[in-house]
């Protein structure tokens, strides 16, 4: 299982923190700890690191003795770190980090650190399409992109509905349609009112 996903930059400032098991201590301390472990490692070393140091942070009584491992990858100014237990394949997680980064890249077109800062919610939404509850959800970048687009469509619709100039209630989203034609939109709207 994946216990945590962290992104921080090369000076140790966290850009995304997501825990799938409730941390026992302050998340910031954990980030600092992992940063100190990871940042001292040179590029040539491997991407895996046993982390008995983290036991006190993430270990629950229920998973006593679980061996935690840090799997990380460095992209430009950012470290992508996954804290996992022994049920995950090391290289598999490494690939997953790549998928996550590629998905971010698609969504933000040439993702950079600033994108993650200003669009932290979007970054979380993308992560939630890749990993759910500590388990790999989707690994195809195309599928992830579709899901993200679908969500942003829904958001735009609700956004335009909050705009007084927009027509209709907008919270009724027709199924299937990814791109809505005005006609389809109208039909959906009539259908929706018809239901009430």
């Amino acid at each position: 299982m994946i216990h945590a996903v962290l992104i921080f930059n090369t000076s140790g400032v966290s850009r995304l923190i997501k825990f799938y098991t409730t941390p026992q201590k302050s998340p910031q301390l954990l980030v600092e700890k992992i940063f100190s472990l990871v940042s001292s490692r040179s590029q040539a070393l491997c991407n895996f690191l046993d982390a008995p140091e983290l036991d006190s942070f993430l270990n629950h009584p229920s998973m006593a003795g679980e061996r935690l491992q840090i799997i990380y990858r460095n992209y430009a100014t950012l470290y992508f770190v996954f804290v996992v237990d022994s049920s995950e394949s090391e290289l598999g997680i490494l690939d997953l980090i790549q998928v996550f980064v590629e998905s971010l890249d698609r969504a933000f077109e040439n993702v950079c650190e600033l994108d993650l800062v200003f669009n932290f919610d979007e970054a979380h939404h993308i992560l939630s399409e890749v990993v759910q509850g500590g388990v790999v959800l989707e690994t195809s970048v195309d599928e992830i992109q579709t899901a993200i687009e679908q969500a942003s469509q829904a958001r735009q619709k609700s956004f335009s509905s909050s705009n007084p100039l927009a027509l209709g209630s907008g919270n009724k989203i027709s199924r299937n349609a990814v791109i809505q034609t005005p006609l389809g939109w109208l039909a959906g709207r009539f259908g929706a009112t018809g239901l009430r």
Binding site: F48, L94, D95, D142
Partner: protein
């Protein structure tokens, strides 16, 4: 998107602009105060709430503790606007954990979103449960989530999220998921066309199957089929090829799932999976320049090798894998070296012969000096696993040498491992004591109490060792920097056995005393107390230094530590008694040997590494360690095992533990003898889990069809509105081929088609499909499953087949297969004389089985000779005419062919009596079981009213 909220963007920009941490904190505190005030005033519209909650989330991500906004997040979830809902859910999943009281408030909103006919909202709700799902949520919502998973109208992206949500619920609260009941339905999703769904559902099945191996046994076949389609047939959609490797995650998961089950014995499954593994290994030969491609390929490869090791360590696959691994451990890529060592440790933990690994011993030892600590750790694990009697001195020596320069993080574990290896593979007492003392001297601070306790235990229990131990300990104590643990060992050993070496130069009582006593001032109170006990023992055996010792006691009578003081007083009094007093002698009797007990070290190491909830399919350490672990796990999973078997199992474990615990050097091959009877453990382990056959489908027609098939080779086995199942069979000797035709009668395809044969005892009858059944049957089409059976010994329990498929809903039928023991009979011709000679030779009971029962006559009131003949010859006995003097009687003979027990002859005599409307059937056979069974089968068939 966050940028839609200007206030938020400004806030982020402000924080980024803060030059020092203090300014940043100030800005955040200001903002939080503002938000608190706004929330308190209330009267906020959705947009404002959303904006403030987003600011709170951002603050949280920066690592600050936030304690406001939980209630507002809960409100946002029930907002009709998706953008507000989404932020609300994000806040709930980030800011709350499963025990938050506030979660109770969102259960209803979540249920509403789950039930809504709107996939994006479904997804938000599922995602929230998967992240923070509490017990209450699991109880309230498990059904809804399951419905979303199996409903045919659910979109794929909803189903895959539902699968993972169920997984979370199951992990947190297993009682709410009727795992066994849902098994077939959930496993059938593994055949889904969407690989994204398959990945998720496989994760779910991995968790469920671990606890319900039998209920989920079908997933074994499904996994192999899926792997074959991915790897060999290249059947996958383009978006699931990751750098030209077909969904490495799915492959990794499937390979791992297969390792949860004991190796299959089905030859067809075996050959398919071997083919898959071989293909994966061949693929890895061509490395490309693309890092991602190599990564993905290796991820699959390492898992495939792990499965190959799990299936059979002696296979040619594993031999090839060992060659690959050898190349990996000297690779330039650190990741590859790391995983190579890790997998090799797996191999070492399983294999019968370590020769293939020992060839690379030098490389592995060099890896202890790799520049990466991760690699060093793996090398350490591997050395620990590959150690045996032959190389123990070398490996332990290397480890000791490395210990002195090893990272602090590694030392404690290393010390334990060295101590265990030394004990387990000791070649001589001398070596054992030398090594352990060197270990304590080299890494004193990292030596746990267990290590030196164990030395004492072993020295006390081994007479031959005592003098030597005393001598060596004294030598170590003479070095200026002896560690406190060493002083403790010295105190104990010299106190007990110091007198054994008192006559040797340099070890006179006074010298022993001086060496030990100079150390005492640097030691803790507990150690000093131990030394005082040593001194009182010496008073008894070394009267010549009594006054020195009395001196010490006298001085300690005035120390502040109560324990020390009391001891000193008591010892002083004891030592001051007159010379001829026997009390002192009695008090200082030699310590009796310790009762043999399990080494606390292994315990400690296991606790340290953790038995990882069967997540990992193997542990570090030798073969026995793995066997033992599997056994305990198996017991955990199969509580219903017959008691007798469990007790023998635990007795074996006990033996293993005992022999590990005692350093038994009486036999020179101690380490190897550790597992007293590994074969018996193996026998238990290698027994594959046979899914207990589900309840048979019943119906009047089913019985009728079955009866017909008992005496004929072809016919219908089952039919309903959707399917028709027919059988054609052919037997020769102990082998049989049964073609099972399954016809789809409806105009839609039957998907997720599964056929499983249940055999109650594979030692008597083997049945396996010649190839894997297809997973779909096209509309109005027929598929043929070829079943191969082999009769190994006599059997009476019939095999059954379960066929399940999806046609709208999950359908499943379980039917008995008409594979009777009589199907393996072959004709034999005998003349009258021969027949009766054999008849007499076999003799009466118990090798004869007889029954008298009523018969019905034909409508004309005569004997139904035609039917009698048909039944007897249908059971493949040769009707011998003209043998019996009474023409109404039937006489038959046949030979049962079995591959293990050979041939068994069987003779039959059937005597109907028209007037009494009764008949007598007599079967004689060289095997009692065969006689009884044939009598039963034929009399049952005959007594039934003609159809």
């Amino acid at each position: 998107m966050a940028t839609n909220m200007r206030g938020l963007t400004q806030f982020i920009a402000d924080i980024r602009g803060a030059r020092v941490r203090e300014l940043e904190e100030k800005r955040i505190n200001k903002e939080m105060a503002n938000i608190r005030k706004k929330f308190k005033d209330g009267n906020l519209d959705g947009y404002q709430k959303k904006k403030y909650v987003a600011k709170i989330i951002f603050t949280y991500i920066l690592g600050y503790k936030v304690d406001v906004g939980h209630m507002e997040a809960v409100n946002l979830i029930s907002s009709p606007k998706y953008s507000e809902k989404q932020i609300g859910y994000l806040a709930v999943t980030l800011l709350m954990h499963e025990n938050s009281d506030l979660l109770r408030l969102v259960v209803n909103s979540i249920r509403k979103d789950l039930d809504e006919n709107n996939e994006v909202n479904n997804c938000l709700a599922l995602h929230a449960i998967a992240n923070v799902g509490s017990n209450e949520m699991a109880e309230a919502l498990a059904e809804d989530v399951h419905r979303l998973l199996i409903s045919p109208t659910s979109q794929n992206f909803v189903r895959k999220k539902a699968a993972l949500t169920l997984l979370r619920m199951y992990r947190k609260h297993p009682d709410v998921i009727p795992a066994a009941e849902w098994a077939l339905r959930i496993v059938s999703i593994m055949d889904d066309a969407d690989l994204g769904v398959v990945v998720s559902v496989t994760s779910l099945i991995m968790a469920l199957a671990q606890d319900h191996l039998e209920a989920y046994a079908v997933c074994y076949q499904k996994s192999i089929d899926r792997l074959h389609r991915l790897v060999v047939d290249h059947e996958y959609t383009a978006q699931y090829a990751y750098y030209r490797v077909p969904s490495p995650w799915l492959q990794v998961k499937l390979f791992r799932l297969l390792q949860y089950y004991p190796p299959t014995e089905d030859p067809t499954l075996r050959s398919v999976i071997n083919n898959v593994i071989q293909t994966v290994m061949n693929n890895s030969m061509e490395t490309s320049r693309n890092v991602q491609h190599n990564n993905a390929q290796n991820a699959v490869l390492f898992e495939a090798i792990a499965l190959a090791i799990h299936l059979d360590t002696n296979s040619s696959l594993v031999t090839n894998a060992a060659v690959l691994l050898a190349r990996f451990i000297s690779s330039k890529e650190t990741n590859v070296r790391y995983l190579g060592l890790d997998t090799m440790a797996h191999l070492a933990g399983r294999t019968e012969s370590l020769d293939a690994i020992k060839k690379h011993q030098t490389t592995i030892i060099q890896s202890l000096r790799d520049k990466d600590i991760s690699v060093r750790r793996r090398a350490l694990d591997l050395l620990f696993s590959m150690c045996d009697l032959d190389n123990s001195e070398l490996i332990v020596g290397e480890l000791l040498r490395y210990l002195k320069v090893a990272d602090y993080a590694l030392r404690e574990e290393m010390v334990l491992k060295i101590a265990i290896l030394t004990e387990k593979y000791a070649t001589s007492y001398k070596w054992y004591v030398d090594t352990i003392l060197e270990l304590i001297a080299a890494a004193g601070d990292h030596v746990g109490e267990e290590v030196w306790y164990r030395v004492i235990q072993i020295v006390t229990n081994t007479m031959d060792l005592q003098a030597y131990a005393a001598r060596v300990t004294l030598e170590y104590l003479k070095t200026p920097t002896a560690h406190e643990s060493l002083v403790k060992v010295g105190g104990y050993v010299l106190g007990e056995y110091g007198h054994l070496i008192a006559n040797e130069p340099g070890s006179s009582p006074i010298e022993q005393f001086q060496v030990l006593h100079t150390k005492s001032q640097f030691c803790l109170a507990a150690t000093r107390a131990l030394l005082l006990s040593t001194y009182i023992k010496w008073v008894n055996v070394f009267p010549e230094i009594k006054h020195h010792l009395l001196n010490v006691f006298d001085r300690y009578r005035h120390v502040l530590d109560v324990d020390l003081q009391q001891r000193a007083c008591e010892y002083y009094a004891l030592a001051s008694r007159p010379e001829d007093d026997e009390l002192l002698q009695n008090v200082c009797e030699e310590i009796p040997p310790f009762p043999p007990r399990e080494s606390a070290l292994v315990h400690r190491l296991n606790r340290k590494l953790g038995d990882t909830e069967s997540k990992r399919t193997w542990v570090h350490g030798g073969k026995e360690a793995n066997l033992e672990r599997e056994l305990t796990q198996r017991k955990k999973i199969l509580p219903a095992e017959p008691a007798s078997r469990t007790t023998t199992g635990s007795a074996d474990v006990g033996n293993v533990m005992d022999s590990l615990a005692g350093l038994d050097l009486t036999s020179s091959s101690n380490g190897a003898a550790a597992a007293t009877d590994p074969s018996s453990i193996f026998a238990q382990l290698s027994k594959p889990i046979n899914p207990t056959a589900p309840r048979l489908t019943t119906g009047p027609n089913i019985d009728r069809w079955f009866e017909k098939l008992t005496t004929s080779a072809d016919g219908v086995l089952y039919e309903d509105v959707q399917v028709q199942i027919g059988i054609k069979s052919r037997y020769q000797g102990h082998l049989g081929q049964i073609a099972i035709y399954v016809g789809n009668k409806v105009p839609v395809p039957l998907t997720s088609f599964t056929a499983v044969v249940h055999v109650s005892d594979p030692d008597t009858l083997l049945a396996s499909f010649a190839k894997l059944p297809p997973s779909t049957i096209a509309p109005r089409a027929q598929t043929q499953l070829l079943l191969q059976v082999e009769c190994k010994k006599f059997f009476s329990a019939l095999p059954s087949i379960t066929i399940s498929f999806l046609a709208g809903a999950q359908q499943s039928v379980t039917l008995q297969l008409p594979i009777l023991v009589t199907k393996f009979f072959e004709h034999v011709s005998l003349g009258a004389a021969d027949f009766f000679e054999r008849w007499k030779l076999i003799g009466g009971p118990p090798r004869e089985s007889q029954l008298v029962f009523p018969i019905t006559l034909t409508e004309e009131g005569g004997l139904d000779q035609e039917r009698y003949r048909q039944v007897v010859s249908g059971h493949r006995l040769n009707l011998l005419d003209g043998v019996d003097p009474n023409p109404n009687n039937l006489v038959g003979a046949g030979i049962l062919h079995t591959s293990v027990d050979g041939k068994v002859g069987c003779l039959l005599r059937f005597e109907p009596n028209r007037d009494a409307q009764m008949c007598r059937i007599t079967v004689r056979s060289t095997s009692e079981d065969v006689a009884t069974e044939v009598q039963k089968l034929i009399s049952r068939a005959l007594s039934r009213a003609p159809s």
